[in-house]
């Protein structure tokens, strides 16, 4: 059913199955027909665990989204609310329950909190006088959701904001819990490395939780050899840069949510000629993107400049395969050909889809605006004129380009210069406030607090040192046949991934100096394994590392890690986990403050 999850080095289907089992158990607790009322945010992630068919098997007949007012009528015995533990949602639920009670009362109400129940929320329900109406109040622990064969995400949008702006460590607790669940299924991870404040917290929590369960020994042979915890604020630069891999660009331009992308329909319209041209699809085309699609798995992590060549090569292979039918003479040959047809047809339609997507993207990447933007980004990353006001940014502000674009560039300059000169800093801020409105003062404050945008405190700029030591800029990045991770940004090698790479070989001791320049402590912990579980490693067998990005990770970084896994001499395979899949735009957005009501 979710075959793409089990191809990888670590079978993540085990995790998914465990999650499904728990869901079934809960559904069976509420006997009889049911309707589910969804917190809208949860539907996407849930879709990755269980399709509608599973819910249907357990007598779920109706599904609604949670909104205030009265529930839509449904002839069911149970109403189940699937919600995040948020106070504002509790008020809506209370309203729902009240309006329902007045009509008829033969209903049973249940709440399922995802990922954890909260005392505060229950208290709120009590205050509203509806707590007693619920028969079951339960929690469904869903921390890490498998997105692909090598990718886990919590899809916890506000994690970065909470950790670095609001000092709220809830997300870190969920992370630690999620890692414990993972260890229960895949064995204790013997070695833990980390860099950053939050990484330290998570590791501490994990070790404490382990002590609390001291009596129970985990008897599973460990699948992961190493866990690496990385704070997003160790590497603020990477997500700000425009990603240049195929998947990265799809995300930058159209946005990928929960493994799906919505594309403008025009490009996909002409294929259904039989239906006539009168009803062009106006709904955006929705496509699922994961490694289950053979072609996509092949090209997703390539630099976009190499995608065209890969697509045309594929096209030739497919048409050659179709040509084969002329050579099929015997019945046996024809039979074999026919048996391959569905597979070939699927390949052909996937090729058509991706060619269309690539064309759409190409329209944008070849535009002047995209090129100018990229040039400026690369100037900053190579350290050109980062201490002056940049004329391109100035022009963009004057032309009122989208604010997020401006913020991305300004933050990038700030990070590459280890803070902007006070004069430059104030100038940008004034320009932004005057052009986009004073209400953005709060957003600027947030960025400052998060360290993305700051005035220079010490006179020394340590970014050049970091860049040189970690070889963050490679002049001759090979986009077609990459030999280094820097291909994902056409020259810039993501700092976070370099750290991962160095950790595997030759080890962090060689870069002590640089580690000290980056924020937060770095550390190493060991977890004792019960005797007899020490893995005997065969010659040539790869080690497996789980890299956890606290505060989000971009698709280009994922691509870079996959690239490292595939390198023959690396001896290391990577599984990636994160609090949220993000790009520069969604990231900045999560840090913005929008005062909701404007003066009328």
């Amino acid at each position: 059913m979710a075959a793409h999850l089990s191809y990888g080095r670590v079978n993540l289907n085990i995790l998914r199955e465990a999650a499904r089992k728990e869901l079934r158990e809960f559904l069976d607790k509420c006997a009889g027909s049911k309707a589910i009322v969804w917190d809208e945010y949860l539907t996407g992630p849930f879709g990755l665990i269980a399709q509608y068919s599973l819910l249907k098997e357990h007598e779920v007949e109706k599904m609604f989204t949670l909104k205030s007012g009265r529930l839509p009528s449904a002839d069911v015995k149970n109403i189940i609310f699937f919600v995040r533990p948020r106070l504002e949602l509790m008020d809506i639920i209370a309203e729902n329950v009240f309006s329902e009670d007045k009509m008829h009362s033969a209903r049973d109400f249940h709440i399922l909190f995802v990922p954890r129940r909260s005392m505060l929320c229950e208290q709120r329900l009590k205050e509203q006088g509806v707590l007693a109406s619920f028969i079951n109040i339960d929690e469904y622990i869903l921390d890490l959701i498998p997105y692909d064969g090598d990718l886990l995400s919590m899809e916890y949008e506000s994690a970065f904001r909470e950790c670095y702006l609001e000092n709220d460590q809830t997300s870190l607790y969920h992370t630690a819990k999620g890692l414990m669940t993972l260890q229960a299924l895949y064995g204790t991870i013997p070695q833990i490395y980390g860099k950053g404040e939050c990484a330290r917290h998570v590791a501490n929590m994990m070790l404490r939780m382990k002590r609390e369960f001291a009596g129970i020994q985990n008897q599973i042979l460990p699948v992961f050899d190493t866990l690496l915890l990385l704070d997003r604020n160790v590497d603020l630069l990477t997500p700000l840069a425009t990603q240049l891999t195929y998947e990265g660009l799809i995300d930058e331009i159209y946005g990928i949510t929960n493994g799906y992308v919505k594309l403008p329909p025009e490009k996909f319209a002409q294929k259904k000629q039989g239906e006539g041209s009168k009803d062009l699809p106006t709904e955006p085309k929705k496509l699922q993107l994961n490694s289950a699609e053979e072609l996509y798995a092949e090209i997703r992590d390539k630099n976009f400049n190499a995608v065209g060549a890969a697509l045309s090569k594929k096209a030739k292979i497919i048409s050659a395969a179709f040509e084969e039918r002329h050579n099929a003479k015997t019945v046996g040959e024809i039979k074999q050909f026919v048996s391959q047809l569905p597979h070939m047809q699927a390949a052909r339609s996937s090729l058509a889809n991706h060619t269309s997507i690539a064309e759409l993207i190409k329209d944008i990447t070849t535009s002047e605006a995209f090129f100018d933007n990229l040039t400026v980004e690369q100037e900053f990353m190579t350290g050109v004129d980062t201490d002056k006001v940049n004329t391109y940014i100035e022009d963009c502000i004057a032309q009122k380009d989208p604010l997020i674009k401006i913020l991305r560039l300004v933050c990038m300059q700030s990070v590459c210069n280890n803070g902007l000169k006070q004069k430059v800093f104030d100038y940008y801020k004034r320009e932004i406030l005057q052009t986009y409105g004073y209400e953005h003062m709060l957003t600027l404050n947030n960025l400052e607090k998060g360290g993305l945008l700051k005035p220079q405190s010490s006179s020394r700029n340590n970014y050049p040192t970091i860049r040189k030591t970690l070889k963050l800029w490679m002049e001759d990045a090979n986009e077609q046949n990459p030999n280094d991770i820097s291909y994902v940004y056409s020259g810039y090698a993501p700092l976070s991934i370099r750290l991962t790479q160095v950790l595997a070989r030759p080890g962090w001791r060689s870069i002590e100096e640089v580690l000290k320049m980056l924020p937060g402590p770095h550390f190493e912990e060991r977890q004792q394994l019960p005797a007899g579980l020490h893995k005997k490693r065969q010659q040539g067998e790869n080690r497996t590392t789980l890299v956890f990005f606290l505060g989000g990770v971009s698709y280009a970084e994922i691509a870079a890690l996959r690239f490292l896994s595939q390198m023959e001499d690396s001896g290391m395979e990577y599984i990636i986990a994160t609090t949220k899949l993000l790009n520069g735009t969604t990231w900045i957005k999560s840090l913005m403050d929008r005062p909701e009501s404007q003066t009328p």
């Binding site: 100035e394 004057a398 005057q434 052009t435 409105g437």
Partner: protein, 114 residues
Amino acid sequence: YYVTASYREKRLDSRLSVLQSAVDEYNKAKNEFSAKATEEEMRLLRFQRKLDDEKGAGLLGLSLQATMEALLASGLNKQAEQLYRDFRVPDKRYWWLKLKSLAEKEEWEELEKF
């Protein structure tokens, strides 16, 4: 946090007074930039109110740039000029704006004069 509160205030007078408290707080915290920016914001709000009352221009709540744009579009060049000087808008940005607005109104003769 006063700034957030100020956006919740529907009425302008009370909004201005909340912003004033924000300025005071910023001064206490020695956050010069924010204090100044907030004062600027108040100045802009007052200016917008004055013009709205006089001409019914509907400017309230717009950013400075958008205000100037609106002024230029409705031919109130003098007022736009005044904002440009009062708020020390960088030349570059102002000329961009002015060019754009002239082009939109197709006043090519004015454009020639630059």
